[in-house]
């Protein structure tokens, strides 16, 4: 269990969310960007469920 770099993983997941949300703000009316970002955000949420939510318990 100690081999997992949970803190670093969580930080990178957080950064990914930040980047995607920033890009979403800048995408304006471009559906091809916004809809793909929605899908990426859904996957980031799965990373949060699988890793970030557990961080404080490890």
């Amino acid at each position: 269990m100690s081999d997992w770099k949970i803190d670093e993983m969580c930080e990178l997941i957080k950064q990914m969310r930040h980047v995607v949300e920033e890009l979403k703000e800048k995408s304006g009316p471009i559906q091809a960007v916004e809809r793909n970002l929605d899908r990426i955000l859904a996957n980031i949420k799965m990373l949060e469920l699988n890793v970030s939510d557990v961080k404080e318990l490890i």
Partner: protein, 447 residues
Amino acid sequence: MLNDPSSYWNPILETLPQEKLQALQLKKFKRIAEWAYNNSPFYRRLYQEEGLEPEDIKDFEDIQKVPKIEKGMMREVQRRDPFPYGDMMTVPLERVTAFRQTSGTTGTPVYQADTWQDWEWWSESWCYILYAQGYRDTDRVFIPFGYNIFVAFWAGHYAAEKLGCEVVPGGVLDTQSRILKMQELKCNAFMATPTYVLGMADTAINKLGIDPVKDLNIQKITCAGEPGASIPTTKKRMEDAWGAKVYDHIGATEIGAWSYECTEQPGGLHVNEGFFLVEIEDIETGEIITEPGREGKMIITALDRMAKPCIRFDSKDVIRWADHQCDCGRTFRLIDGGVVGRSDDITKVKGVLLAPTAIEEVVRSIPELGDEYEVVVSKKRDIDDILLKIEVLPGKEAEQESILFRLKDQLRVKTNLGYKIEVHPYGSLPRYEVKAKRFKDLRKNGG
């Protein structure tokens, strides 16, 4: 015992010690309750009527004070806006990307809305199932499922893709075409209801002259929709018919895919305690059962399902905690023998409590009997009558007297009831592709 981390879909969650899992569940329960309270008019009403605020939930005992929901409430709420889901919803309709509905076996179907995130969550839940059952990116997986309004194997399909499997969608092909395609492509896994697993084997042998054990390449089968894969005699029939390992999983449209059997086949199913909170409630007293071996009905919360939350849902499924841990190393607790019945299915016949699964276990334990059977309960002059229709396998007709003797004897031992038995020609009882309807209680219709 912790195995190699690569043997788990998510070793972080699946090997988390129980006390930490419970801390995670409490944290997530508070989060979903607060989300529902703030965004769903239905949940806000429900909680306000009980004088409950989300911040009142501080520990596990507080969770037990949160009102339960039932299927009837889900149906009722559908009369409200937004159409067609009702105000249990927490997000605007623009964010809904998929409609599914329950099968309607027990009444009006419940409509389920999923956003793309919720759908990702569905397939993520299924990834836990398939990975634990040995699915990997080298597998070619056939899905003999009529892709439609029922969630069934949709999530299994998406999860298998996510795992890197090559997925062959069996869609509208008929049973024979599906078998031939599985043979042509050398598929090594498939997913189906237990009824259809047995039905396909029967079709392969009797219509196509194909022996699934020798002529096909199936190594693992994932079952859903019916309890058969957790009934030892039915599981054995399926494994013998295909020469493959058969694994169970349990899920529901309004809940999600909440439990799974792993390759250890430990006689029970793991509850995905990272994504779901399962409570077992004594049917008579309402007390929460924590000790192994004692049956009760399941109250379940999907901890991360957002658009139409499922919080403390009284599923009516009867389950019990197992008294052992699994050798696979997962810390997710086991429920012993899967779902052992339904609190609204268990019926009294001649004053005796009868679970339909007990009849299936007996019928499938007698090798000379076909896979299909039907039970009809009726009332004749105020006396309950129970009729069991069966098929004897071709070539075994001469042994009928001995077969019926063993059948009646085992039924009496396992269910404490006497039955009228009708032997029907092989192949004449109804065959099903999805959920079978083998138990008919005509007393409910005055019959």
